[in-house]
Subunit: 159 residues, 2 copies
């Protein structure tokens, strides 16, 4: 995603208006590597601009996605998460706490799907599933105790 300043210019050049709400969201998303949900962004935004609408957050995120400034990440379960990182990268997900980490991956260029001649491939996404060190520790103590989640809320496996 471009800087807030660059986005301001991009917006104006497209006939879009530069509102305080948008400017705030530009700031909150720029360089943000937390892969926030709309709700969590809304919470942050509200802290700085009480009264901002969740609807506006969704709207702005959709605009930015249309403009190619960010990506949607759907990795099972809950809400869509947003990623302003436009570099060639992939994701690692902790199946316990749900955190998502950006990673560069070696070897993606060599990936070859077998037997899909009738598809024009445009993009490849790699998702690693694992357990982060923090969750690994809490697992050691409480064996499976509080970690059994319903299929719906736990990060789903999508091979």
């Amino acid at each position: 995603m471009q800087t807030p300043t660059e986005l301001a210019a991009a917006y104006r050049s497209q006939g879009r208006k530069l509102t305080p709400q948008r400017q705030l969201l530009f700031q909150l998303m720029h360089g943000n590597d937390k892969h926030p949900t709309a709700e969590s962004l809304f919470a942050e935004a509200t802290a700085q601009m009480p009264g901002i609408s969740l609807r506006t957050v969704y709207q702005t995120l959709n605009e930015l996605a249309e403009m190619g400034e960010l990506q949607f990440i759907d990795i099972g379960g809950g809400a869509t998460r947003f990623d302003p990182n436009l570099d060639d990268h992939h994701h690692v997900v902790c199946v316990d706490c749900g955190q998502i980490r950006d990673v560069h991956v070696n070897g993606t260029a060599a990936l070859k799907p077998v037997g899909i001649e009738d598809f024009t491939i445009n993009d490849v996404g790699v998702v690693f599933q694992g357990v982060c060190s923090t969750c690994e520790k809490s697992r050691a103590k409480s064996h499976k105790t509080a970690h059994a989640k319903s299929p719906a809320q736990q990060a789903k496996i999508s091979k």
Copy 2:
């Protein structure tokens, strides 16, 4: 996923009951490579067993997932899709029509995430995004005409 007969045995050995609803769903899912949603499975099931409940379809799919007989696939947008294929495989998605195809992928063993020492990786999923030949043809005719979908319903990119 195992055959309906094998599943019947597995169910009984676990103290689960073998109901007609479950047996039907075993049949519908066995060898199914369409990656159906709960709704579409429900539709098929209803054709053969009017009165079967959507609730039961969800319940049975969750059971099968718990038993490791199938996977959830969440590739952006709409409903969860179910995959009874337990082989080591990955997926190709048509961003136009949303169809999902199973594929074997060469080179996955060589994939190396960079800089995530604090993660224990258990699984890797690869998703190719592209356009199937059918959609490619219709694109050639009607340029973008009916293919502009809202971000929400179109297959989302998850790098």
